[in-house]
């Protein structure tokens, strides 16, 4: 493997892990409410920007990060409670438009609370590159990959082993039956928004030291995460992770071997290709149902 290819793959995996986290957020909310939450990118922005401003205020990262994640989670829950839930029963398109409105509102608020400048966050453990197989990787990239892996494992445990996680899956499959089992589906909706917002915020914090952050960083990251979710199959957790990593690698290879000018176009070409040829995505729902 050439050093150059290894470098592209490492870069792609790092960015892909971020896309995967954003895509997981899309999947969780989609499952709970069939809403495609276009404010997902704004959670990414809130995570990064809140951490930066708290760190600048002198708080250590160990404090700033949890506070930023909780802030984003609170915004997510508020979005569900005050914007999505009151519109319960409205068509999915209406709900999606609500989330687009919310994303515009949140970006506007961010310019008021913070500013319109680019901000840098200090890397968690230095910026001395580490050499692997002829390529180099930043310590921050290892943080990205490690934390993403931990989150994926944690989510796997949550949805596969805990009754609350299974209740969320059950609600996504059949909300009526879930209610009849005593699941509070309203709570599931709030929980899914809180969880997705936290995932988005963590993504935004992890990537901030590498790419800088600003009030509008969520637009592109949200769209890329959406592309990853579509590629993997909307609503599939595995799909979100695989879709994110594939998209990150495709972008990195495209930027390296074709032209970095087309980097952002690759995600949208992939969305179009998936929608044309396999609208259900790579891991789209296979139904095991007998009538």
């Amino acid at each position: 493997m050439s050093a150059q290819l290894a470098q592209y793959l490492l870069t792609g995996l790092t960015v892909g892990a971020i896309y995967a986290l954003v895509a997981l957020g899309f999947a969780i909310i989609y499952n709970a409410s069939h809403v495609i939450n276009f404010a997902q990118g704004e959670f990414v922005m809130i995570g990064g920007m809140a951490t930066v401003s708290l760190a600048n205020a002198g708080l250590p990262l160990l404090v700033a990060i949890p506070v930023a994640v909780l802030t984003a989670a609170a915004v997510g829950v508020a979005l569900a409670k005050f914007a999505v839930e009151p519109a319960r029963g409205a068509s999915v398109v209406t709900l999606i438009i609500i989330t687009i409105g919310a994303s515009i509102l949140l970006r506007g608020l961010a310019t008021l609370v913070w500013d319109k400048k680019l901000h840098a966050l200090q890397p968690f453990s230095g910026d001395q590159p580490i050499a692997i197989a002829g390529a180099t990787i930043l310590p921050q990239s290892l943080w990205v990959l490690g934390v993403t892996l931990a989150i994926v494992l944690l989510l796997g445990w949550f949805f596969g082993r805990t009754l609350t996680g299974k209740a969320m899956l059950a609600t996504s499959h059949n909300p009526l039956a879930a209610q009849l089992c005593g699941v509070n589906v309203r709570f599931v909706l709030l929980l899914s928004f809180g969880l997705s917002a936290s995932l988005g915020a963590i993504a935004g914090i992890l990537i901030a030291p590498i790419t800088l952050t600003s009030w509008d960083v969520g637009v592109m990251l949200g769209l890329k995460g959406f592309a990853a979710a579509i590629l993997g199959g909307l609503g599939s957790g595995t799909g979100a992770v695989v879709g994110g990593l594939l998209l990150g690698i495709a972008e990195s290879l495209g930027a390296g071997y074709v032209s970095s000018a087309y980097k952002d176009a690759i995600a949208f070409v992939i969305i179009l290709a998936v929608l044309f040829f396999k609208p259900s995505g790579l891991f789209g729902k296979k139904s095991a149902e007998r009538v």
Partner: protein
């Protein structure tokens, strides 16, 4: 006959609407502790709407529902399950992609974990076919097995009042018999049951009492055998 203080469930003047269409037009009925009460009626009479309203997944627009002496007319669905009002919905509604065991555990969602383990054993003893398939996705079960799973899932919640909506629908005659045998054994174990079924003869035969529902109103009430002997019931629901 009705409205005595010892009723577990009391329904008075209950109405419910889908938009501007009124599906329930002022229902009165009661179910006493330990009783098996059947509700018969044609398609569209409002049977399923009534059960959905009792479970709280369809709002009541008027009237009153009292359970164990407490007004629950506008209580949330999940709170009613905690109280012990548990429904086996029409069409079984199992969680297809989840395993049989996960379906059952979700049935016990409102109960403490330790109780759920004991509940599983009870359900498996009742439906051995489910135990054999406990790791299988519920969606791959046959219709009869799914019905057993739906009933098992409801029993996991320790119902004080079990609402059964069309448990025999779409099943082969042998399975229908099996389902009604299960209903009978639940009754013997003193489970209070409110049963809705197209199969009026079978439903009224196992029931202590019954009601006939027509276009959102109760038009007849009586013991199971009285209703089975009633000319109107015979003509309309028993095909005699």
């Amino acid at each position: 006959m009705l409205g005595t203080g010892d009723s577990l469930l009391e329904v008075g003047g209950l109405t419910s609407h889908y938009g501007r269409i009124q599906a329930l037009k002022g229902l009165d009925l009661a179910v006493r502790e330990g009783e098996l009460v059947a509700l018969v009626g044609a398609n569209g009479a409002g049977k399923t709407t009534l059960l959905r309203t009792l479970s709280g997944v369809q709002p009541a627009s008027g009237g009153r529902v009292t359970f164990a002496g407490e007004d629950i007319t506008h209580e949330r669905a999940d709170r009613r399950v905690k109280r012990g009002i548990v429904q086996v919905p029409e069409g079984r509604q199992v969680f297809g992609p989840l395993s049989v065991e996960d379906n059952l555990r979700l049935g016990g969602y409102t109960r403490p974990r330790a109780e759920s383990d004991a509940g599983l054993e009870r359900v498996y003893a009742m439906f051995p076919a489910l135990k054999e398939r406990r790791r299988q996705a519920a969606g791959t079960l046959s219709g009869g097995q799914q019905q057993m799973l739906a009933m098992g899932r409801a029993l996991m919640a320790k119902p004080r009042l079990l609402l059964l909506d069309e448990p025999s629908m779409g099943l082969a005659p042998r399975l229908v018999e099996e389902i009604f045998a299960t209903v009978r054994s639940l009754k013997q174990a003193h489970t209070t049951i409110f049963l809705v079924d197209q199969n009026a003869r079978a439903a009224l035969s196992v029931a202590d009492r019954g009601y006939v529902l027509e276009t959102g109103r109760i038009v007849l009430a009586g013991t199971g055998s009285e209703l089975l002997g009633n000319e109107l019931v015979k003509a309309a629901y028993l095909g005699l």
